[in-house]
């Protein structure tokens, strides 16, 4: 049951990515292209995606987190760290460059697999390799200084 519901939630998330235009790399790149403002080619749509998503999540989280526990789990797993370490700048800086190169971030890239796009398969395969590499490299002693927890997924 929990698994079926998580499939449905992924489906809703994916439909949101498609309806919003996030699943179209051309639209993402035209949004990131602030140099296109003067030329009139800038597509501001994605600001509305973030606005709509954050508004609903802001209200929804505050209500859900008042519950004693999640429906299918024993407790909520919400990150609590507030400190700004180098990793929280270096990681997103690297991610942003990749995002600007192809117009894909992780959610839309996975959704693009369903379009039957060969480009999406190539991107997702490389993305997964990058993810595994990041988790593995966190265990290297030379890098450990800037990676507070042993696994970058720990927030």
């Amino acid at each position: 049951m929990a698994v079926l519901i998580q499939f449905a939630i992924g489906l809703i998330f994916g439909l949101g990515l498609i309806l919003s235009g996030m699943s179209n790399p051309a639209k993402v790149l035209n949004f990131l292209d602030v140099g296109g403002i003067a030329a009139g080619t800038w597509d501001a749509s994605l600001m509305f995606v973030m606005g709509g998503a954050v508004a609903v999540t802001f209200v929804g989280f505050s209500r859900v987190l008042k519950l004693a526990r999640p429906f299918f789990a024993d407790r909520f797993y919400v990150p609590t760290r507030r400190d700004i370490d180098p990793r929280i700048i270096i990681g997103p800086a690297i991610f942003g460059v990749g995002w600007g190169l192809a117009g894909f971030c992780p959610g839309p890239a996975l959704t693009a697999l369903g379009f039957g796009s060969a480009s999406a398969v190539i991107f997702v395969a490389a993305m997964c390799a990058g993810m595994v590499l990041a988790r593995w490299s966190a265990h290297l002693p030379s890098l450990a200084r800037i990676v507070a927890p042993a696994d970058p997924l720990e927030t």
Partner: protein
């Protein structure tokens, strides 16, 4: 580049759906709907027993365009201009960077900002800045 049109209403509605899905996931599993975290945990090391749920979530993401295709008879708009080499480099950077920085557009940008997380605000501002800078260099410096 391919021209795209300004779609504020559809984008706002799509964003609201994404937010709704994030709230549902928190309600159901108590987890942040961060796609990079969910995808990265499809690979070892496994810390918990929630692999099946993560696979189901990703399967839902992949099924979404198929559902649109079935319902409307045509594929949603998608234009990918990057060639193979760029896709490989971009994919590596996106995968490595999003895990190294504990989140991506969904985890930090949606779920983090709505929880008023300082770390997510820094992360979101950073990937927006480097994404914008990358596109600027590619389109206006060459």
């Amino acid at each position: 580049m391919t021209a795209t049109s300004f779609t504020p209403v559809a984008s706002l509605a799509g964003g609201a759906l994404i937010g709704f899905a994030a709230v549902l996931l928190m309600w159901a599993t108590g987890r942040i709907a961060g796609v990079s975290g969910i995808a990265a945990r499809l690979f070892p090391p496994y810390e918990d027993r929630e692999l099946a749920g993560r696979v189901a979530f990703v399967a839902g993401l992949i099924a979404a365009p198929l559902l649109v295709r079935l319902a409307t008879g045509s594929w949603p708009a998608q234009v990918i201009e990057a060639g193979t080499a760029v896709l490989v480099v971009a994919g590596l950077l996106v995968g490595f960077g999003s895990v190294w920085g504990s989140g991506c557009t969904s985890g930090h940008g949606v779920c983090g900002l709505s929880r008023l997380s300082a770390r997510s605000l820094v992360a979101t501002a950073t990937f927006m800045a480097t994404g914008i800078a990358t596109v600027f260099v590619l389109r206006h410096w060459s």
